[in-house]
Amino acid sequence: MDKKIPNGAEVIIQSLIREGVEYVFGYPGGAAIPLFDALVDHPQIKLVLVRHEQGATHMADGYARATGKPGVVLVTSGPGATNTVTGILTAQMDSSPIIVLCGQTISPMLGKDAFQEADVTGITYPVVKHSFLVKSANELPRVMKETFHIATTGRPGPVLLDLPKDVTSSPCTAPFVDSVDLPGYEIPGVPEQASLAKAAECLSRSRRPVLMVGHGAVIAGAGKAITQLAEKLQAPVVTTLLGKGAVSEDHALHLGMVGMHGTAYANKAVMNCDLIFAIGSRWDDRIVGKLAEFCPTATRMHLDIDPAEFGKIIQPDVCMTGDARRGIEALLPQVEKLDTAEWVKQCGAWRKQYPLRYGKQGGLKAQHVLEEMDRIARGKAIVTTDVGQHQMWAAQFCRSTFNRSWISSGGAGTMGFGFPAAIGAQLGCPDKPVWAVVGDGGFQMTLCELATAALQKTPVKILIINNNYLGMVRQWQELFFDNRYSGVDMVGNPDFVKLAEAYGVKAFRIRRPGDVRRVLKQAAEYNDGPCLIDAEVVKEDNVFPMVPAGAGFKDMLIERPKQKMAKPTGST
C-alpha cells in the first residue's frame, strides 16, 4: 500500500480534527484497533480512556451540554457498542449532540454471527437522530461531514457510525468535503412572520402571561432574548427541568421550575395564566400532568425547532417553527409592555405564601446540603445531577444563573448519568467548578469512572446525597403504595469515603448539619483532582411540592398528605 494514501481510520481521525474535536471518550476492542491506532499519530486529540462504554457516552453528553460542541465516543463492536445504547437514548431524549463511532466486524462477516458482532445499527434505529453503516472507505469523508452536520444542527441529537474493520483499514482516496448532500434534511431558522404576528397579537391581549422556557432555549442560547422579552412584557418566567439556566433564576420575574416537583408558585402561575408560551419545550408529561386539566382556557403558544412537537401532547393555538433565539429576537420588536402589574403581584404573593421549605430539625437534610452547595457554587459552577430525589431537590434549591450551567438527564431519566457527565463537562470547561450531585443508588451504576476522573485529574466534586435508599421509588411506595417498600433499601452500600480513597480520590464525609458548610468549603477549595463528599442524610424524606403522576396541578401536594393516596394514574 502506498504510504501516502490514508486508510479509513486515518480519515476519520483527520475529520475529527477538521471539526475541532478536542476529546474522544473511548474504550478499545478488536474491531476498533485501527481507529485507536490512528489516534497515536494525532496527539492533539486527547483520548479519555473510560472504564465502561456507558460512561463514555455520558461524558460525551456532559461535554456537549456544557460546551455546545459535539461529544465524540469511540468504542468497539458487539458489547462495546451495545453498552452505549443507554447513553445514546439519554442524548436523544434531551437533544444532545453526541457522535458514537463503533468498530464492527469486517464487512464480509456481517450477519454471520462473527466474534463480537452485533447489529448495532439495527439495535439503535429508534434512539438515534441518524446513523450510517459505512460500506466503503471512500464514503468516509462525506459521511463524517454529514455526521457532524446532522448531530449539531436543527434539533441536535446522537449520530452513530457503524464502522467495519475492513473499511477503517482500507485506503481512502476520496477527498475531504465541505458540503453535505442531504435533500431530506431542513434546518428551521427564523419562524414565519405570519406566526410571529399572530403570537404578538395573542400576547397583546394577555393579562396573565407565563413564559415556559425549555431545553431548546438553552441549546439555542436564547436566554438573553427571553429575559428581554420577559422584562419588556413584564411576564413571569418558569422553566422546565432542562430549561434551568437559560434565564437566571435570580431574576425577579423567574418563578423557578414547573411540573411534578416544581415550585408551588410556578405551578400556581401556570394553573392560573391566560396565556402560556412554551419556548423550546416539548410539554413533557411531568410538566403537563393531567392533559384535560392543563391550562384548559389559556392561549397556548409554542416556539420549537421541531414541528413534530406541535400537537404531539398539547395542541397549540400558535405554532412558530424555528430556532428559539432567532424566534424570540424576531418577536421582541413586535410586542409591547403588557398590563400585568396585578398578575406579577399575585405571583409574588404565591411565592411568599408557598416558599420551598423543609424541616430544619431531625438530622441532616439533603435540602440543607444542597442549599449550602448552591451558596458556594451559584453563578460560577456547573451542576450535573443523577436521577431521583436528589435531582429534584437540586433542581429546587440550586438556582441556575447562566446558560449551560445545569446538566441533568431529563427525558430518559438515566441513573448513572450525573458523575460521568460531570467529567465531560469539566473537560469541556476547565475554568469552571463542576459539582456532580448524585444519589447513592445512581452513583454506583457508573462509579467505575472514579478511575477516569482520577487519571484525568478532573477536579469534579462528587456530592453523594446518601440516604441508603432508592429514595424516589421509596417516596412513591410510602405515599401511594401503603408503605410497602420493595426493592428500595440500598443495604450493602460501600463506605464511599474508603471507596474513593481506594481510587486515590480525596473524600470527605458529612454527618451533622453543623459540618455542612465547613466540609463543602473544603471540597470547593480542593482542586488537585476529583473529590467525593458523602453526605449521610436522613433516610426517609420526601420531595415536595409534588403533583402525582397523571394528576392535575390543582391536586398538587405541598406537604405530606395525612390521608391515604390513590395509586397514580400517570405512567411515571
Partner: protein, 164 residues
Amino acid sequence: MNMPSHTISVLVRNKPGVLVRVALVFARRGYNIDSLVVSPVLDSEFSRMTITCTGDPSTLDQIIKQLFKLIDVVRAIDHTGQSVIEKEIALIKVRCPAESRTGILQIAEHFRGTTVDFGHESLILQIAGGSDKIDHVLGLLQPFGIVDLVRTGKILMARGADKT
C-alpha cells in the same frame, strides 16, 4: 374497533435501512401497515414508498411529521381524501373444474382481467384496477374456490400539478 384507512406516499433516499426506519415510525405508534410498495423513481437516487395503513387519524398527523423528521425521507404526503389515481394488480388462483370455467371467465372478461395460467385443476387470473374493484372480484370468485391470492399493494399518483 374499525379504524379508517389512509394512503401515504413517502419519497426517500435510496439507502440501506430506510425501510426499517420508516416501518419503526408506524410500529411504535400502533399503526398497522396493510400494504407497502417500494419502487425506484425516475432519479435512481430516490425511491417511492406507497403505504396503506389503518389507525387513529389523530396519530397519523404525528406519524407524517415523524416520517418527515427522518433524514432519509425527502417528503411524506397523506393522500387520504385527495383526488388521486390509485391502482393495484392481483393474481388470483381459482379452482376450475370444467363446469365452473365459463362462470369464472365471464367474471374475468367483465372486469377486463386476463387469464395468465390455465390448468386442469386451477387457473390464474390477473386483475388490475382500484383496490375496491379487486375486493369486489374476489367476492364474486369466492364461491368457485380461491386457492391462492397475491396482490401488489396499492400504488397511487396525484393528478395534475399536485405532488405525489
